[in-house]
Symmetry: C2
Subunit: 165 residues, 2 copies
């Protein structure tokens, strides 16, 4: 089969390989978000809330502008979701003392709890895939995904060291 196909079209395997990558990304993302989505639904939240909770938890003190650059959505879209999270006591805002235009965002204890719930769920999935795949595969996974990401953002991910403020 494979021999026949590659004789007919030498590009077949290559295209097949690339299409497989696309499908893997689709299915993986679909399943990667399924459990968090169902947890969030219990809180009346959606995937957008998850992203805010995740990135604020990941880097406490993030500003609104930073979130906008990460999420690549409009200020108005973020505002709705962030406003809900603040009103419902999952996230706090406080002016940065050095530049009081900036609002530093942080999770409340309630917010941190939800963040843990969501992250633990995804950690289990990723940890299991990592274990099954092995360290070398994990390295390849990271390399390829990094290559899919906009160059400007690559640094932010690799460097990411939670500074604690």
């Amino acid at each position: 089969m494979v021999q026949l196909k590659s004789r007919v079209s030498p590009l077949f395997l290559r295209e097949e390989e690339l299409r497989q990558a696309m499908e893997l990304l689709f299915y993986a993302y679909r399943d990667f978000t399924a459990e968090p989505d169902s947890i969030l639904a219990k809180y009346g939240f959606g995937r957008a809330h998850h992203r805010v909770i995740y990135f604020v938890g990941r880097k406490p003190g993030t500003t609104v502008g930073e979130l906008l650059r990460i999420l690549k959505i409009t200020k108005q879209s973020l505002s709705r979701v962030l406003g809900q999270l603040v009103r419902e006591g999952f996230v706090t805002q406080e002016s940065d003392p050095r530049d009081r235009r900036r609002r530093r965002l942080r999770l409340t204890e309630k917010g941190a709890e939800l963040e843990r719930l969501l992250t633990e769920s995804q950690c289990r999935l990723v940890a299991s895939a990592y274990r099954e795949a092995g360290a070398q595969a994990v390295e390849g996974f990271r390399t390829v995904l990094l290559g899919l990401i906009n160059e400007e953002d690559r640094g932010a991910i690799v460097d990411a060291e939670p500074t604690g403020n």
Copy 2:
């Protein structure tokens, strides 16, 4: 730094590693869908249309039920998008002669053209990431992503051989 942190919490690197995976998936998916999204916008379509066009193009003769299992959305959600694609001449439906309840879906030439446009865009991105990463990394990428996917669906991706009907 790393030494200090891993002394403080031996689980630090592990959790850090898992969080990095989550972020890689988020950023990669964000950037992976960006270009198709902007192409689709010119046609008045969105990501949902892309998925239908992609999977119908990938496996001509797919039925509605099969699409529903792949996309994991409701019949009503699919119907809206699929209906548009049929009405606007991107997809055709014809009853399966053996089981005339089933509608076999296929791309029209117009649909195939759009599919190529979208897939080529993503192919370029994936091919570039694959080239930079190397064959071994690609293998790891596939292994890990496969591990993130629901077991039931894993087979479908690996086996996937377009039968041409």
